[in-house]
């Protein structure tokens, strides 16, 4: 799964069922931020240790804290604490740091563990930032007065190339979920977006019947992180 971090939290078998508080650092452990809770996690926890005392967490937004283009974090570290009984909290277990190298595009839902990240190739990425404008034509004036009161969200179109049937199905699945998606480019920029599946177009490219290459073009609007 491209551009994701797989975090394994290991307790003892006796700690099975404990709540897990997982945090992420993208600056070498100087600052820590929460990660998105897994589906079904108790309130206040990221997840729960399974029967063998293990929790596997796939962080699809691992580099979400990176700011701007080309500023991928130099390291990625996770810390976890366990709460076996209500209000009893362990000290933190801290992972070794890894270097989150991004070399491909990926498109995922922000919800961890629900949808596998899809490795795609973005062929075209057009983006505009429309304004809402009003034009005032004063009597006798040479030039009109243009008033802009709202800067629109960035929007555009993405054209993705998929080279396998599974990738193609996964992209269509993502578009059909109508969730906020997280796009990561190999250049280090990240974008939360909502796709507009209604205008999706698919073109089949030459590549053989077994592994048809397809381009999927859809519109999107940038949104804040959910």
């Amino acid at each position: 799964m491209s551009n994701t971090a797989t975090v394994t939290v290991t307790g003892t078998v006796g700690q099975a069922g404990s709540g897990v508080l997982l945090t992420r650092s993208i600056d070498g452990g100087i600052t820590w931020g929460p990660v998105r809770a897994m589906g079904g996690a108790p309130a206040g926890f990221t997840g729960v240790l399974g029967g063998t005392g293990l929790l596997t967490y796939i962080d699809t937004e691992a580099i979400a804290g990176a700011i701007g283009i080309g500023t991928l974090p130099p390291s990625l570290t996770y810390a976890a604490r366990l709460s076996p009984t209500t209000g009893s909290v362990s000290g933190p277990g801290v992972s070794a740091a890894v270097n989150p190298i991004v070399s491909t595009w990926s498109l995922v839902t922000a919800t961890p563990g629900q949808t596998a990240a899809v490795g795609i190739m973005v062929m075209a990425h057009e983006q505009t930032r429309p304004n809402r404008e009003a034009l005032h034509l004063r009597l006798g004036a040479t030039y009109p007065i243009v008033v802009t009161d709202v800067v629109g969200a960035r929007a555009g179109t993405l054209t993705c190339l998929t080279t396998t049937q599974s990738a193609f199905n996964a992209v269509l699945g993502l578009l059909g979920q109508l969730e906020v998606l997280f796009l990561v480019s190999p250049y280090g920029d990240i974008l939360y977006l909502v796709a507009d599946p209604a205008g999706t177009t698919v073109d089949i490219q030459p590549g053989g019947a077994a592994a048809p290459y397809r381009t999927i073009k859809f519109g999107y609007s940038e949104v804040a992180a959910p």
Binding site: M1, S2, N3, T4, A5, T6, V7, T8, V9, T10, G11, T12, Q15, S18, V20, L21, G44, L49, A62, L76, T77, Y78, A79, A80, R81, L82, S83, P84, T85, T86, G87, S88, V89, S90, G91, P92, G93, V94, S95, A96, V98, N99, P100, I101, V102, S103, T104, A117
Partner: protein, 255 residues
């Protein structure tokens, strides 16, 4: 707004003022309490001002007057007898403040107050424009729980508000012993383990969760319906339990 009264004087008056030849100071600037401030006069309170003397002559005496708003007669503070007088009194002092003991004023009343100063001459300067201060009882918040040593990291803070005021908002902040012991620590400021923020309403409890074993400091503050805010409380809560073993954590990045 600060008004440069000196600038409005005539040239002759400026010369007289700067020479110090029998010309009194200008009206002082009233600093505290601020206009329309609220003070609890069941406790000692201090009023402050900034003397305005064009020739930088220091204050040598002041006259502090008050009246019961809106139409009471003036009374002047006699610092020597610690009593109010119906005639003007200049108190010899170079300090630009006056402290009143509890009971010198009364709550449940709007008061106008002002100050005139002298700077070595026998002429007092003009009084500053009257400012209004309201005497009102401050709300008092009392921490009521949890009490005793807590054996989990989840507990609920409870409090009561003074019976004479009606709570309209509250804030609860929990500090670890390290945060509380940090140099310059001030309640309501800086990093904390839990902070409710200012919450409107009459609630009297706030739950905290997942606290590690430590001695925590709970700080509470309430605001009543008139907008007056209480002082902060600071009460300790000992949380003690055997922490479970820390997990091991590993991470693999998939490029």
């Amino acid at each position: 707004m600060t008004v440069n009264a000196f600038a409005s004087l005539s040239a002759a008056a400026r010369l007289q003022a700067t020479s110090g030849s029998g010309f009194g100071p200008l009206a002082p600037i009233l600093d505290a309490p601020p206009p329309d401030g609220v003070l609890d006069f069941t406790a000692s309170q201090t009023f402050t001002w900034t003397p305005q003397a064009p020739n930088a002559a220091a204050q040598t005496a002041y006259a502090f007057r008050r009246y019961a708003s809106p139409s009471g007669g003036y009374q002047w503070w006699n610092a020597g007898s610690s009593a109010w007088s119906a005639t003007e009194v200049y108190n010899t002092s170079s300090t630009a403040s006056a402290t009143f003991s509890a009971g010198s004023w009364s709550n449940g009343q709007d008061w106008g107050w002002s100050v005139s100063t002298q700077n070595g001459t026998t002429l007092g300067g003009p009084y500053a424009t009257n400012q209004i201060v309201t005497g009102a009882a401050l709300p008092v918040v009392t921490f009521t729980g949890p009490t005793g040593t807590q054996t989990t990291g989840n507990w609920t803070i409870t409090w009561t508000d003074s019976a004479s005021t009606i709570q309209s908002a509250w804030r609860a902040v929990v500090y670890s012993s390290a945060q509380h012991g940090a140099s310059g620590w001030t309640a309501g400021v800086g990093p904390s383990m839990a902070d409710s923020g200012v919450v409107g309403g009459v609630a009297s409890s706030y739950a905290v969760a997942n606290l590690s074993p430590d001695t925590y400091w709970v700080c509470l503050q309430v605001t009543d319906l008139t907008g007056v805010t209480s002082a902060w409380t600071a009460d300790s809560v000992v949380t003690s339990y055997t922490a479970p073993a820390a997990p091991t954590v590993s991470v693999v990045w998939s490029p």
